[in-house]
């Protein structure tokens, strides 16, 4: 949807809003639903969040200045809602610096053995790494969904500290701490994958075979 048409509809109100809601739904439903499912892993909850986002878009339409495209602005509203929902599901338990990462790594490797992820052979090492990462990442998403989601946004959209602070509704200092928590949690949940990568780095010849 054209941002100027959106702003016009916002000014005019009435029938223009009803029509614009339909247009927004047609233009962005799929993109937003994909993003919401990715974060929530629940298609009903995701559809509800998308609908809620469209409503918020109109409730806040007067704050849209038109100096950026419409989609990034709408997406940030959706992401804000996503974070809120993920936070509501589970209370954050911060990880201390004092926690022994080796113990955690050991525990994760034991988990890995129990889940019977195949021992990587040399030829398929790269594929094994990818598969290992996928499994670890899924576990990370289940255990710390908000942290995993924000990390993927950082990678894909290059979010800055300020942008993340805005999404989280926290101060820059608290956001830095959140990012530090992302790193600590990722280290724990991706321990097996990190181990594989480290093994390859130590023995590159084997990895090249």
């Amino acid at each position: 949807m054209d941002r100027f048409a959106f702003m016009r509809a916002c000014r005019e109100g009435g029938v223009a809003i009803e029509q614009a809601l339909r247009t927004l739904d047609q233009c962005y439903c799929r993109i937003l639903l994909t993003e919401a499912i990715r974060g929530l892993h629940d298609s009903d909850a995701a559809a509800d969040l998308v609908q809620e986002t469209f409503i918020k878009v109109w409730q806040r339409c007067a704050t849209f200045q038109g100096d950026s495209e419409l989609l990034p602005w709408i997406r940030s509203i959706l992401r804000h809602g996503l974070i809120d929902r993920l936070r509501a599901r589970a209370r954050e338990v911060p990880l201390d610096d004092e926690q022994d990462p080796d113990l955690e790594v050991g525990a994760r490797i034991a988990d890995l053995s129990r889940e019977q992820i195949p021992t990587p052979d040399v030829q398929a090492r790269r594929r094994q790494q990818d598969e290992c990462f996928r499994l670890c990442w899924e576990r990370f998403q289940r255990t710390a969904p908000a942290h995993a989601l924000v990390m993927s946004w950082i990678v894909e959209d290059g979010l800055t500290n300020e942008e993340i602070a805005q999404l989280l509704g926290r101060t820059p200092g608290a956001t830095r701490e959140f990012i530090s928590q992302c790193r600590k949690r990722a280290r724990i949940h991706l321990a097996e994958w990190r181990q594989l990568v480290a093994d390859d780095a130590e023995n590159p010849a084997a990895a090249d075979v």
Partner: protein
């Protein structure tokens, strides 16, 4: 993991900057970035471009939220007129607007009464139980009190009065206050924290979580 270390990790993860490329934090973040980017981004979501049921549900919700006038029931006498009117779906106009204004004045009056009542009760009632420190972990101070809302407001107001820009937040089951304290932390701010049994954070990042006490 130091703050600089985390910062380098974060910037590399976001794909920014190549300074300190051989630093362990940068290597860690680069490997992670590559792995995340190699994951499939798009989930196969089958969504028709136009879906009358989806649209109807969205418009219904918009009406419920008061975005569209049909959320106001003006009575059976006008219902059929609205149904056939070209202005159907319009923002509140005329009588609808007057009705809505009346409703708003009514709500404002109720809110004023509630506010005055609450203020009266707050002034007369003895202060809530003093907060007790439940614990502190990962830099987050947890306070327990019988009235988290009041304690949050009190802490916020005291910090703001002391020139600290503090941010309140609310999550399911708890409230809290975040603030980046000026460095060095002024005496009056230290005094406020001490009064609430909060240890002054060494890094200046104050994170307080307030939960409701369960028992007497």
């Amino acid at each position: 993991m130091t703050e600089d270390d985390d910062s380098l990790w974060f910037e590399t993860l976001a794909g920014r900057g190549s300074a300190n490329g051989s630093h362990p934090a940068a290597i860690e973040a680069r490997a992670l970035r590559t792995a995340i980017l190699s994951q499939p981004r798009d989930i196969a979501v089958s969504v028709p471009l136009q879906d009358p049921r989806r649209e109807a549900s969205l418009l219904e919700r918009a009406r419920r939220e008061g975005l569209l006038v049909d959320s106001l029931d003006l009575g059976p006498a006008t219902r059929h007129l609205r149904a056939s009117s070209p202005l159907r779906g319009h923002y509140a106009t005329g009588r609808a607007l007057r009705n809505r204004t009346r409703v708003r004045y009514g709500l404002a009056a109720v809110a004023a009464v509630v506010f005055v009542g609450t203020a009266f009760v707050t002034l007369v009632r003895p202060p809530p139980h003093a907060p007790t420190l439940r614990g502190s972990s990962g830099g987050i101070v947890r306070l327990e009190t019988s009235d988290p809302r009041s304690l949050q407001r009190e802490l916020l107001s005291e910090l703001n009065s002391a020139g600290v820009s503090a941010t309140p937040y609310e999550r399911l089951g708890g409230r809290g206050v975040d603030a980046d304290l000026p460095q060095p932390v002024p005496e009056n701010v230290r005094a406020i924290l001490a009064r609430h049994h909060i240890k002054t954070p060494a890094d200046g990042v104050l994170r307080v979580e307030i939960v409701e006490s369960r028992g007497p």
